[in-house]
């Protein structure tokens, strides 16, 4: 048996947009154990509930993540609305659904670009991020913000999307979809992508389920959990099937995200066609008194916002459980037994969002 050595991976690494550290215990070129450590960008956002009144805290919740900010804000609002028994207007629920799916598109395209970059496919990286610009332009046009939208509030949404704009958005999706099909074909069929990803970082179905994998990390291993199926926002009125792959490797996780782009486009089209006329918000009365675990499907998986109020303007507790935190134990499992050269691709395959995870 060769001697074991420890190679530090991160916190700064070319494939990591944010800092995470993993101690890799190696025998020759093979990883026998991986020990993660985090804490480089912990901001203590959850404690700010003591400083901000509950309607204001949505701005803090949104800033938990710079990618899926809208879904953070929405999930927090859902939690408070459940505690306060607020009936959100149906149009607002559809608008939340539309913006959630645009957020998913922009997050997945961001990840696909980073992933292409990690496997050394620079043209694909540029094509993915060029496509992402279309999504960011729509978000900017409809909410005023490309990344932090600030359009969700307790009781509904702050902005409406006019009917004609919705029609145009649906038409523009046809062109966008054709562009995505070209990109998707490369991700799913190119030999250099397949060579770097197939059979790499395998996570079995049982491990994915019991270790707490969520989102594309779980669905790439055959676990068909998708919180959108619980019917929050307007998802209960829309038709879709969660994308599930069974390979359990980096290729499967990539394939899930590629195919989910088209699911999101379809959901936006359905929502734009079915959205009813009407109010977009109701004014909350009183203060939250009670507790609730609100769950939603982020691009990376299940997001949980727990809130507890005592009848005052300030919540007693906000707890945010992000999908990257729960995808950390599965990552440790994936890394054990892999080659050192595959570590960057495997780490990236869970789409780690460290700012989100550390809050």
């Amino acid at each position: 048996m060769s001697k074991k050595i420890i190679v530090p991976f991160g916190p700064q690494h070319p494939v990591l947009p944010e800092p995470i550290h993993v101690d890799l215990v190696l025998e020759d070129e093979r990883v026998v154990e991986a020990i993660p450590s985090i804490g480089y960008i912990h901001r203590g956002l959850e404690t700010l509930v003591a400083k901000r009144e509950y309607p204001e805290y949505v701005y803090i919740a949104e800033r938990t993540c710079g990618i899926c900010s809208f879904i953070h804000g929405m999930t927090y609002c859902q939690a408070v609305e459940q505690v306060m028994d607020i009936e959100v207007p149906e149009r607002a629920l559809y608008l939340r659904t539309i913006w959630s799916e645009y957020s998913r598109l922009h997050s997945h395209l961001l990840w696909l670009g980073l992933f292409a970059d990690a496997v050394g496919f620079e043209n694909l990286f540029m094509a993915s991020w060029k496509a992402r610009e279309f999504v960011l332009d729509v978000l900017e046009e409809t909410t005023g913000g490309r990344v932090i939208q600030g359009s969700c509030k307790v009781g509904g949404v702050r902005r409406d999307i006019p009917g004609k704009t919705l029609e145009r958005m649906a038409r523009d999706l046809d062109v966008f979809e054709r562009e995505l099909k070209d990109i998707a074909g490369v991700f799913l069929n190119d030999e250099s992508i397949i060579g770097r990803t197939r059979g790499v970082g395998v996570l079995s179905r049982d491990d994915a389920y019991y270790l707490g994998a969520m989102g594309p990390t779980a669905r790439g291993s055959g676990v068909g959990i998708d919180l959108r199926k619980t019917g929050y926002a307007a998802y209960g009125k829309l038709q879709f099937k969660p994308v599930v792959e069974t390979g359990g490797d980096c290729y499967s996780r990539c394939a899930v995200r590629v195919k989910e782009l088209f699911t999101s486009i379809d959901l936006i089209r359905q929502a734009a066609a079915k959205i009813p006329e009407g109010e977009i918000e109701v004014k909350p009365k009183g203060n939250p008194d009670g507790e609730y675990f609100s769950r939603a499907e982020q691009p990376r998986g299940e997001l949980v916002h727990y809130v507890k109020g005592d009848g005052s303007k300030h919540l007693v507790r906000s707890r945010i459980r992000t999908p990257t935190l729960t995808n950390l134990p599965p990552l440790v499992k994936m890394l054990a037994g892999c080659e050192l050269a595959d570590v960057p691709v495997i780490v990236l395959s869970i789409d780690p969002c460290i700012g989100c995870m550390e809050r």
Binding site: I35, S37, I38, G39, Y40, H42, G44, E46, T47, A50, K51, E53, E81, Q82, D85, I86, E87, V88, L93, Y209, Y210, L211, G212, L227, K229, T230, E291, Y292, F293, R295, E302, V304, Y306, K308, S312, H314, V316, R317, R319, R321, L325, T326, L328, P329, P330, E358
Partner: protein, 126 residues
């Protein structure tokens, strides 16, 4: 939107492991663990899910008590248990991976146990 019923069952600390084992046998996945400070006590929530059915159990302890680790049943629980120690100072016994207080590298030890804001009151009156 009608309010979804979410039940939280209060359990004794000594019964925790047996109850969590039952969840695992029934096929539930661990959704999350979290801690909430309630006066001088701490509420520890354990949330599970099976086919989108959400279940939550809770133990209540004082700050000096230890709680048993469930990482022998749900291996991935170590991230939540280390987080609870780092942020709240809750001591968890028997973790499969114990970071010894170094998972979250906070400038102040156990910052969520007694949160303060530089020069400000905890809840400013407006």
């Amino acid at each position: 939107m009608t309010r979804d019923a979410q039940e939280t069952t209060l359990v004794e600390r000594d019964h925790l492991i047996g109850i969590v084992e039952e969840f695992r046998k029934k096929g539930y996945r661990l959704v999350q663990m979290s801690c909430t400070k309630a006066g001088e006590l701490y509420e520890i929530n354990y949330s599970f899910d099976l086919d989108y059915q959400f279940r939550n159990i809770r133990i209540v302890i004082d700050g000096l008590s230890e709680i048993p680790s469930i990482s022998g049943i749900y291996w991935g629980a170590f991230v939540y248990e280390n987080e609870m120690y780092d942020l709240f100072g809750i001591r968890v016994v028997g973790m499969n991976i114990d970071f010894g207080g170094n998972l979250f590298r906070t400038a102040k030890k156990n910052p969520f146990a007694n949160p303060t804001f530089r020069g400000e009151e905890t809840c400013p009156k407006r």
